[in-house]
């Protein structure tokens, strides 16, 4: 299989040249400022061109980029004074979901975030971001604390899916997800959901119900992975790029369906190029939405949350044309 990030190659080449010139400058004292500056401009133009024309499949690849910022990066860059909280009080501590309290621009929040892990060891501990039932129950346990003490919940979604395994089934994967979906639908505190990378089906929805759903520009949210869809429809997993296109899984497309409230812009070259800048952009977006939600009474908030989901769906009644849900 070719390198899945081939489409980024023109940018990578330019980046290598820039680094080369900078190294040359520092080792020989030659002034390369002008050349570097012009290369950076070329890079910026090239990246704008490239990112404007990304295919859905390329966005899926970016969502899965190994250097893409994860929940822990957003904790580091976006929150102050973080207090990690562990465990579901029933079975264990699932590191595929990190939970804890922090201050977002001074506002205390409860963070619940799926975590894939950054190196081999952490990836293993985090089970590559695929939570077990205890992960979902841990998330709900902390959200209950948030509800009790009026902390808004920030839920960062980044999972290929809930873990498909024997133990997960034994411990009630379906039930854990179902109960979270139900309980997030009427949790008495504001909830903002952000898809920061992969929004893999029910495993994503298990921490993904809230007042606002934001998606980073190069993330995806889908009922099934493009590979899974291609395997079912065409018995051919390699048609995943076609499946990605058909599933309408990008932020822009989902915003048009009214499911996603905001597609959050990523820095030039994608979130993985500048995690701190990305975190800053997300922080601004979160604060804006939080201010709007905190202006509502609790009853208004919950009514609007109900209406938000109530309105999702398109169907035909009697001889009429397609209608949206109420």
């Amino acid at each position: 299989m070719s390198n899945p990030f081939d489409f980024l190659e023109p940018l990578v080449k330019l980046e290598e040249k820039i680094t080369e010139l900078e190294t040359l400058a520092s080792s020989t004292g030659v002034d390369t400022t002008r050349e570097v500056g012009s290369l950076r401009e070329t890079w910026a133009g090239e990246s704008r061109r490239l990112f404007a024309g990304l295919t859905p499949w390329q966005r899926v690849m970016l969502a899965r980029h190994p250097l893409r910022p994860q929940s822990s990066d957003y904790v580091d860059h976006m929150l102050d004074d973080f207090v990690p909280l562990a465990g579901d009080r029933r079975f264990g501590d699932d590191e595929a979901i990190i939970t804890g309290m922090g201050r977002l621009g001074g506002i205390p929040v409860m963070l619940v975030g799926q975590q894939k892990g950054k190196d081999v060891h952490e990836r293993k501990r985090c089970n590559f971001g695929m939570p077990h039932p205890e992960g979902y129950r841990k998330a709900m346990a902390k959200m209950r604390v948030a509800e009790k003490f009026n902390l808004p919940v920030i839920a960062l979604v980044n999972t290929p899916g809930a873990f498909p395994g024997v133990e997960a089934e034994e411990r009630g994967q379906s039930i854990a997800i179902a109960e979270n979906i139900r309980d997030m639908s009427n949790l008495r505190t504001p909830i903002i959901v952000v898809v920061i990378g992969e929004g893999g089906s029910g495993g994503a929805l298990g921490i993904g119900v809230g007042d606002r759903i934001l998606m980073l520009q190069n993330s995806y949210f889908s009922v099934i992975s493009p590979e899974g869809c291609a395997a079912i429809l065409w018995k051919d997993g390699s048609k995943r790029d076609l499946a990605a296109e058909r599933l309408k899984l990008t932020a822009g497309e989902l915003a048009r369906f009214g499911i996603v409230d905001e597609a959050v812009e990523e820095p030039a070259g994608g979130a993985h190029r500048q995690p701190a800048v990305m975190a800053g952009l997300l922080k601004d977006a979160l604060l804006k939405h939080l201010r709007e939600l905190q202006a509502l009474t609790m009853d208004e908030l919950l009514e609007r949350r109900y209406r938000k989901y109530r309105a999702i769906g398109q169907f035909i009644e009697s001889a009429g044309a397609a209608t949206a849900a109420r």
Binding site: I175, I181, S201, G206, V223, C229, A322
Partner: protein, 279 residues
């Protein structure tokens, strides 16, 4: 009475469940059994009581008192929000399923009496595109629950579904949230929801409303779970234990309340309603 009505209601339906002809081979005990006898026993094997998949209409007739059923939102059918094409277009696929099953989509909802108790009932039609949940299933179930919340009535949903419907993309996934949110409101009014799981209840359906019953009842030996066994085997190369993802497996692991045969289902549900519903 009930069975006569069933036979009439069922003529020509569901050729897949019980093959045409006078005789049918039971997949469980491998005996060849007289088909009409199977039908008269609510689609179960006279030798081993294997539960064949049952049509939604027949299920309703088996649960609801004669002459009390009123169907709701019967006219609703799928739109094509994604313009989804795989070989053929989604609307064409739906039209085929409608012609095959005589149904508009994969769930039938309505109200009626169950042993004298007024209830709202939703029943999955597995033969319609695998009972999958798209906008129609999500919307009809949500309206069912909302109606019962307003009327302070119990809801029973009999599930048989492969999960969310791929051809409506994320809109299908969001029906999990929509139905669950409606059930949360039903629960806030202290109203009863009984979830009945039949073969198969998987994925997005099991991971939403089907798991939210105050009481969860399953038919014997139904396949129930989140991830399909084949996918589990392929992705993690794990050996699957005997009886994995059956009703009995879920019962052993504390995930469902009871297993009831199809013959005793109506009486069992009536008993539960009599304890947990105060009109």
């Amino acid at each position: 009475m009930v069975l006569d009505r069933l036979r009439r209601a069922n003529t020509g339906r569901d050729p897949k469940k019980i093959p045409d002809g006078l005789w049918v081979k039971c997949p469980s005990c491998a005996k060849t059994v007289f088909k009409r006898l199977v039908e008269e026993r609510l689609d179960t094997c006279p030798e081993c009581n294997h539960h064949f998949r049952m049509s939604a209409r027949k299920r309703i007739a088996a649960l609801i008192d004669d002459g009390t059923w009123q169907e709701w939102d019967a006219d609703m059918s799928s739109a094509d929000p994604l313009g989804f094409v795989d070989g053929k277009g989604y609307p064409e696929r739906i039209a085929q399923q409608q012609a095959k099953t005589g149904l508009k989509d994969a769930v039938i909802c309505g109200g009626g009496k169950l042993a004298g108790h007024s209830i709202g009932l939703g029943v999955s039609a597995f033969d319609f595109n695998g009972g999958s949940m798209g906008s129609v299933v999500g919307e009809k179930l949500t309206r069912l629950v909302e109606r019962c919340t307003a009327a302070r009535m119990p809801v029973i949903i009999v599930s048989a579904s492969g999960g969310a419907r791929m051809q409506e993309g994320l809109i299908s996934l969001m029906q999990m949230a929509k139905t669950s949110a409606a059930l949360a409101r039903h629960a806030e009014k202290r109203q009863l929801f009984i979830s009945v799981l039949t073969d198969p209840t998987m994925a997005g359906v099991m991971a939403s409303y089907a798991s939210l019953g105050d009481v969860i009842v399953a038919e014997p030996k139904a396949m129930i779970g989140f991830t399909g066994a084949r996918v589990i085997q392929e992705t993690i190369k794990q050996e699957l234990p005997e009886g994995f993802q059956t009703s009995e497996f879920l019962h052993k692991y504390g995930q469902i309340d009871l297993i009831a045969t199809r013959q005793e289902m109506k009486a069992e549900l009536a008993r539960i309603v009599s304890y947990l519903h105060h009109a």
